[in-house]
Symmetry: C2
Subunit: 304 residues, 2 copies
DNA sequence: CTGAAAGCGCTTACAG
DNA sequence: CTGAAAGCGCTTACAG
């Protein structure tokens, strides 16, 4: 593979000047049809594609937002991404996306970054020279970064009281060894009501958890909740009769599983909007340590 | 808002040359700590962010792939996007995404484009000067564009025979007035087996469709299938006992609805890989009208 | 209708 | 450790 063709290559082959090539490529006025055809033919022959960089340097271009999300296969991230795409599009921004696993060089391709940076701490994908960064639900405070924080205490308390009012006495909270904010929030909320929850590993399924004899399962997220629901159904355990199940995320598909999954929902449009607002503030240097808070709410459906 | 700061602004404020600024920004060797600090302070004060374009012009940058998908809220598009992100990342490409609704200027931000261009025909988002384009499941042939075509005849025939073998005699095929390739494929397959399907509008739900007294519903896609399943359950109609339901897309979540949805699945990893291969060929000018074919397969689950 | 000149913001050798 | 010069690929006035 040789060096890609540039505008001067095309100009040479077509026997014209550089700006005549520009005129032909962008279908501008002031060029004879014959010349245009000759230029276009040369461009095709050389497989010429104008460089985004040369062009961007001289024409005002759309700003580009880097979006760092988890696996899009999880509707939670997909829905957030969808909202960000829409909102960013309305503001005239382009969006480059990366999942933590992919090695895309966000720093070179974006003017600012938002996302779940907690997902990709090892290679600091956001450690660009002075790039504005807004973290969503970050595990810790990063100086200079904007933050969209989640308020979950209220909704968690609502969920816990709801469960207790329905007779729950032996809840199991599934988590990664109590490391997540959601897991800790649930544990504290149960204790505040005088009930000691049973901790369990997030990965566990139904036959595994039966030993704990729980009357409620707090899943790590909705997707895990779906899995538990399916496993419980296979095992012939009645939900919510024998065991109640609650998820976290508020996925729309939760309406389609059986029984419909109760969950802690968050308004992702609000989250996306807040993140976008903050990133604009930061890129204009208007804000030092910008923070927005978005609250979860408990949505009681049929699984509790 | 004034003009954004450039490297010369920082150099002037810090009282150094441009390349000393570069050295400081990128933490390069050959600069005294004191100078670096002074430069960094000036950069922060001016809210300086190096221009991607200036940089891209002079350093080899990652190529950028434009990805045009439908609403990411549909897991079908989300899963494809996820795969493309991973595959593109492995090849060192960045990915800019746009949903048809968003007005992001893909042409200025990408070196090549793949996606469901059929979704955004009105404003030819891909009509860039000579950009390589690969269309997935395109409604019509566009000269010069690569294509990943779907082969659905075989899987559709399998699905139809499966339905007939289970006693189906009055199938309803939901479509947008018979305009979709999937809808036509099902209608033809039923006719080939001697059964005339009842056409219906894609938007219709269960109470609406009851009048046709169907014993099978072919949903436009899995998401529609989920909705029908839910409506049928509410109405107390037994699936698959009284009515069988089949979707199209092969969503993984189909495993979690009740009953598990039978569907026409396609391997999205294969689709993404083919699209990426083609786009690389095209951007290297190696291929004139490149085409790959990926086949659906029928996945019988519990709803039929 | 066509072209010579200047400049966009950055980095890479090369001098000092 | 620091800077003057050249150049990356393109477009925008300005001449002709």
């Amino acid at each position: 593979m040789t060096r890609p063709a540039t505008i001067v290559d095309v100009a040479r082959v077509a026997g014209v000047s550089r700006q005549t090539v520009t005129r032909a490529m962008h279908d501008m006025a002031g060029i004879s049809p014959a010349t245009r055809d000759r230029v276009l033919a040369a461009a095709r022959e050389l497989n010429y594609h104008p460089s985004r960089f040369g062009r961007g340097l001289v024409k005002p271009a759309a700003r580009t937002l880097g979006l760092l999300v988890g696996d899009l296969t999880n509707p939670y991230y997909a829905e957030l991404a969808s909202t960000v795409l829409r909102l960013a599009g309305e503001r005239g921004w382009n969006v480059v996306m990366a999942e933590p696993g992919s090695v895309a060089d966000l720093t070179g391709g974006a003017d600012a970054v938002i996302g779940f940076t907690g997902l990709a701490l090892d290679p600091p994908a956001t450690g660009a020279p002075n790039l504005p960064v807004v973290e969503i639900d970050p595990p810790r405070v990063q100086p200079g970064h904007g933050r969209v924080e989640f308020e979950r205490a209220t909704a968690t308390r609502d969920a816990v009281r709801h469960l207790l009012s329905r007779g729950v006495r032996r809840p199991v909270v599934l988590d990664r060894a109590g490391t997540s904010a959601r897991g800790r929030a649930f544990a504290e909320a149960f204790r505040a009501e005088g009930v000691e929850p049973v901790p369990a590993d997030r990965e566990l399924g139904w036959p595994d958890l039966a030993g704990a004899a729980p009357d409620a399962l707090v899943a790590f997220n909705d997707l895990d909740g779906f899995r538990l629901l399916r496993d419980l159904a296979s095992a012939g355990v009645a939900v919510p009769g024998e065991v109640k199940v609650v998820g976290v995320d508020g996925l729309a598909v939760g309406e389609f599983v059986t029984p419909r999954l109760s969950t802690l929902a968050i308004d992702l449009t609000e989250v996306a909007g807040a993140a976008l607002d903050l990133v604009v503030e930061l890129s204009q240097g208007r804000s030092e340590a910008a923070v927005r808070v978005v609250a979860h709410r408990f949505v009681a459906r049929d699984s509790t």
